[in-house]
Symmetry: C2
């Protein structure tokens, strides 16, 4: 094969160095004044199609294996195959004594709130509660009867007949929004119906009522989807002090019973994320909010909150017109107050569990899933828990970054998909396809911000029925270990450009998927996060830039932080992701406008800065130079742009960009706006100067490798740093490279299933050309490790 080494020399160093951020890149150049030399260009390591995937692959470490009771031989074999150094019992399996004797770290899973089923049977008042909205019923006369449970799975919920409905519920006339006086309705506990009198005919009525969750959502999922035939499991709400005390007694017994356990793996803590289920054999999802607080309600907590905050949460504060404060909604201050209130409780509860584990000499891990509501791993208070290991399930680069970027000293561990469960590991199933697709996205992002460990979950015996899959996972484990061996945990080169994702949540929902409207129409698997349509975050997850998260409230309070180069605002109109009403907050609009005017970059995607107000939909349409037509100005003309085909942002992707939507309904407001991609006059990607700064608009940005390249170029262009593009850069958009200054090596990855040729630029601008195997990653530079 051909290697072309092209030293561009050092002519650009003088301009580059002063702009480097101290954290990463300056060190790079201090250590390595002559970069091409340091990368021992040993041609013997240049890839060959018949070579094994990795050439440096320590046989063991950094991998956690699920074990299956009664399958000791299998477990031994797989420990060897994948080089596991830790084992864990899944939820639903137990470690055998034999396995516990192995010289491995032993993770043992406990989900305390559902660990013991006597208490919930004896204390139904300690089941988790939530506010549900009844179906909307039209009053055909002056009375309506509303069947509260209609549309809800009868085994999942029980209407609360313990607490006073008149105090804790609300009936609302949804035609007007008015709350119906308590005297106008009555609740019949015998049939779970509410009768409303004095109705306005042909108005529509709903009831916000409290229900107990009588079937843990994960238990229900495993029961229905994975065919588990064990008894249904109930969770309890540890907010009740008697319940908490009981749970701690259970926990202590459990600790007693797990002497060999090194790591108590908390799965997770107190409150399950929201999953509402409709009736029927398959109990289909009605509603899902992975980061929502819908199931954290209890009358006790409501009363404590009222005492502490000086106001009462209304039922409608939770029901939110039926949207239930889904993470896509711009959160109200009341909902944020509730989050803070519950988070403090969960941290306290978690700290107690950690302390009790530590007292036995055990470390703790925490799994981001199931009962993780209230954990808030990006919150400073989270650190008070003292957890040692962060474990997150990851299907893509966004999920990786959610774990890898989390603050704190914790060891970061990914749990990969697919689970070894019968849904995928069935006759005709293709687990490799899913795993490979995931791994390519995860590896791409891992080159920017790695985690420390990886692992799997489920039944090993299912996995080993697919020998190709076992081989494939061995390859992943080896690639993962090689990355750590090569890079010795150092950070890869990032350009001196800091990007801030700006939305209504900020750090609270860092690397949480900002689902858009098309998500509604995706027929998805219930166990995996799949993103329909636009997915800017996945594009961003693998780019060599620093990423920060900002909330619009922070902008209101303190303006744009001084170290931000480019702000990204990406979301559908009036959702938390674009920010909704925050954009008509004059402080916010003025601060971001000022930021761009004085040289900052702004990238908007979908409906950036959108809230219809004073003749504008995009409140910063002047900054973007574009606006979206809503129907109010269809006969107001706009500049008609022709595409600037040689624009910096289009380079590499003119033929491969996938705009997602075609009819964006976005038009230019300014003849100086540049069309980069368009369709029949609908602008898809645009660029616009504003003062000393620059703005880029994108109608959508589905995840694809060329689209990620469009985002990278947009970031550099918006930052005014086009000069950085051929630095630590692989020209072929289907490939990536990452340079590790401390460990004097670099990786070039082929993210596609075809052979690729690419030119790789060193951080100093010199380059080599090389060929890559399908899906291959090649390590070059210092090979002495």
């Amino acid at each position: 094969m051909v290697i072309i080494v092209n030293y561009n020399g050092f002519h650009s160093f003088s301009t580059l160095i002063p702009l480097l951020s101290p954290r990463h890149s300056l060190q790079y150049f201090q250590h390595n004044r002559k970069p091409p030399k340091k990368f021992n260009m040993d041609t013997s390591i240049i890839p060959d199609e018949h070579e094994p995937l990795s050439r440096v692959h320590p046989k063991t470490g950094r991998v956690t294996l699920p074990v299956e009771a009664g399958k000791e031989d299998l477990v031994h074999k797989m420990i060897d195959a994948w080089g596991a150094d830790a084992i864990r019992d899944s939820d639903g399996t137990e470690l055998s004594e034999e396995l516990k004797q192995l010289n491995l770290d032993i993770y043992s899973v406990i989900c305390l709130v559902r660990a013991e089923q006597e208490w919930p049977r004896k204390h139904p008042e300690h089941l988790p509660q939530k506010y549900l909205i009844s179906e909307a019923v039209t009053a055909r006369g002056t009375e309506v009867e509303i069947d509260l449970m209609r549309g809800y799975h009868p085994r999942k919920y029980r209407v609360d007949t313990i607490n006073d409905a008149r105090k804790y519920w609300e009936v609302i006339d949804r035609t007007t929004g008015a709350v119906v006086p308590v005297g106008h309705w009555s609740f019949d506990a015998s049939n779970a119906k509410v009768r409303v009198t004095g109705c306005n005919p042909y108005h529509v009525y709903t009831v916000n009522f409290l229900a107990y969750v009588t079937w843990d959502a994960t238990s229900m999922y495993n029961h229905i989807t994975n065919g588990w035939d064990r008894p249904r499991v109930m969770s309890v709400d540890p907010y009740h002090p008697e319940c908490r005390e009981h749970l701690m007694r259970v926990y202590e017994k459990w600790l007693d019973a797990h002497p060999q356990t090194n790591v108590v793996r908390l799965t997770t803590l107190a409150y399950h994320f929201a999953v509402d289920s409709a009736p029927g054999e398959t109990a289909p999802d009605r509603f899902r909010d992975w980061t929502g607080y819908q199931e954290t309600v209890s009358v006790r907590a409501l009363e404590d909150f009222a005492r502490e905050y000086g106001y009462r949460m209304r039922p409608e504060d939770f029901v939110d017109q039926g949207f239930y404060n889904h993470t896509s909604r711009v959160p109200s201050q009341r909902y944020l107050d509730w989050i803070e209130f519950i988070h403090r409780f969960v941290v306290d509860f978690g700290r107690e569990m950690v302390e009790r584990a530590n007292a036995r000499g055990k470390r703790t891990g925490i799994f981001w899933g199931d009962h993780w509501t209230g954990v808030e791993p990006y919150s400073p208070a989270f650190q008070k828990m003292g957890v040692d290991i962060h474990i997150g399930a990851a299907e893509d680069g966004v999920a990786l970054r959610r774990v890898s970027d989390a603050p704190g000293p914790q060891v970061k561990e990914l749990r990969f998909y697919p689970y070894f469960f019968p849904d995928v590991f069935a006759d005709g199933g293709n687990p490799i396809e899913e795993s490979l697709s995931n791994w390519l996205k995860i590896r791409r992002a891992m080159l920017r911000q790695p985690v420390d460990r990886i692992g799997y979950g489920g039944y090993l015996s299912l996995a080993t029925k697919f020998p190709d899959f076992v081989d494939h996972v061995r390859g992943i484990c080896e690639e993962f270990r090689e990355l750590h061996e090569r890079t010795r945990g150092s950070q890869s080169w990032k350009g001196p450009v800091k990007v801030a994702i700006l939305n209504a949540w900020g750090k609270r929902r860092a690397w949480i998927n900002s689902f858009g409207i098309p998500q509604k129409f995706l027929i998805k698997r219930p166990d995996v996060i799949q993103v329909a349509g636009t997915n800017l975050l996945e594009c961003l997850a693998g780019l060599p830039v620093e990423v920060e998260w900002l909330s619009l409230a922070e902008i209101e309070q303190s303006g744009v932080p001084g170290d931000i180069s480019v702000i990204i605002n990406d979301g559908d109109a009036d959702t938390a992701w674009s920010g909704g009403h925050w954009w008509i907050n004059p402080k916010v609009a003025a601060a971001v406008r000022a930021f761009v005017d004085s040289g900052g970059g702004l990238i908007g995607c979908r409906a950036p800065t959108a809230h219809f107000h004073e003749g504008r939909f995009f409140q910063l349409s002047d900054v973007f130079g574009v606006e979206k037509e809503l129907g109010h100005s269809v006969q107001t003309a706009c500049p008609r742009l022709t595409v600037e085909s040689d624009h910096f942002i289009r380079a590499d992707t003119a033929d491969s960009f996938d705009p997602g939507i075609r009819h964006s309904h976005v038009f230019a407001t300014d003849p100086t706006t540049t069309a980069i991609y368009e369709h029949d006059g609908h602008l898809l990607v645009t660029a616009h100067p504003f003062g000393k700064g620059r703005a880029v608009f994108m109608a959508e940005l589905p995840y694809s490798l060329p689209n990620a390249r469009v985002l990278y170029r947009s970031i550099l262009w918006a930052a005014g740093r086009e000069d950085l593009v051929e630095r630590a850069f692989s020209t072929n958009p289907l490939t990536d490279c990452a340079f590790y200054e401390d460990s004097k090596c670099f990786a070039v990855a082929n993210n596609s299933g075809e052979k690729q040729r690419t030119t790789v630029y060193y951080p100093d601008g010199s380059s080599i050309e090389l060929d890559l195997r399908p899906h291959g990653i090649e390590w070059l530079g210092d090979t002495s490790v």
Copy 2:
């Protein structure tokens, strides 16, 4: 050729008769108990491919010809060719004495407000005024300077330096919406700039200012587009009494000078519709509102209005955040008050002109175009003017119905496109293509509601350079006359189904195009109304149903009238066409819900009943059984429907329906909703029962012949009258039929450019099959006329 006559007999009569409306159909059956017999089924008239287009074609009448001074021979020839019985001088031509001597009706055009140019030069204070909004300027410090004329054509406007800016203008902080105190800004008349002080940095400021219109928009168009080299023309505002008196003197002189004129053709009256022009050689449109009152402002009128109505119109009442109360905007009550105020003046002014013409023994015609703002032909007050002839330009069926359906005893006359102007009648031009496309749509609608006369405009000498076009127009004139001869002015059969178009305007904007968002992206001709995307009205224009227009205010006041079978609500969200905030008016929502519940039909298109409120976007989502996803409920599940492929509404069009949009983002809220057309889970056409009534949702409905059929079937289905479908019905969706009871004949039209075979059902359900020539219309039944 084959004729199949299929008598279905009378079995359905007993069920049909009681439901027929007395006006049309009952009479039909009283007169014609045995329908097939009455249509003398003379097979000799069955079409043959070599027969002439029409077999009954009186040679003259019902056609108005434009004449051209100095081309007498040509005019004579064309009078013969097209059978004209009236001639008119176009705006910009004059009749020769010789032509005036012909035994024809003579229309003479006068546009009084721009007829004489001395007065506007001497009285610049009498030029029409309008409020303009300046460009939005970002304050980078605490001061901004705003150049008022930036973005406006310098010859079209003059900033008002006569009236007190501080009294009549407004400066607005568009970031907050606050009006800037008068003390914080100053106007420099020398350079037409406003300086604002005490600004909030990075807020955006605009000025609402008064300008005079210094170039009549039609004159400007002809000057620039048609190359007219005459002096620029100014209009004046006759609201000023001295001006009005002067104009009447001019008018009397003009009447003196036109002794042979039979018909004074008013083009039109007082105020030009709004056309704003940007700078540049081509003076491109900035803004256009054919039914808007933007150019009816004068300080005098503002003061009179304030005295009469007890409140002052604010500049912002006209500027409307820069949307200028475009007809697509939900009109405010203040804007409606202004319309009423100006309309009363225009009627008074028009009545004076009519009376003066009548005093000379002349009739009057009025042309819907140019200066027609304030005329309001659907208003009862319009009749007070005493005009004899309505003349409207028509490019399609909607434009035809706008004229043909207007109330009052006036003769209705259409002016066809293309105008004989150099834009179309140039080398390489194809006037037949445009004319034929228009005629097919107009003829289709004319079978439901004919006009009395047709005519053309422009330069005959240009038309005669295209002999094929001259032949083609002769065919149109003959077809038109044949329709009148055959039908003797009678109405064609309409089903006993009355459809009401419900929007914020009601009758005020009957048959006015409800442009949607795609209109913005259409590169259109400036002189013709072209509709981009959805166009339900054009589909409706040719259907055999009665059409009524209702405003949402009427629903609020009086509920749904008792004679309405089906309500149609069609428009983008929060526009006048769907109705915006009216739908959260509880009286409106309850009235329409009650109407459907008790058996009415509701058809929604685009964003029907939409206004985001209390968890709903479509306020009647319960009635439609569908809702649109805006991003707030992307993780709330919905029923997944499969298309009901044999639904009544799909018959005839399963393969030919054009849904326009594909990703509607509309989902089902109820499993009983029926999907009729869908794409990847996005619902495109649905049907849903609600109580005793039915609702149909359509995401879009572009105009096509199959789509018109879908609308017809939707109307019948929503009305619960599927039994009517094979009555007076031509099965092939590319064809139409119309039955004329009084004149005992019927027409079958081929609206396509290909030969078609179709089965035609008589109103009693019996049928024949026949073949039709491309574009042909065949008259059957009583051929004795």
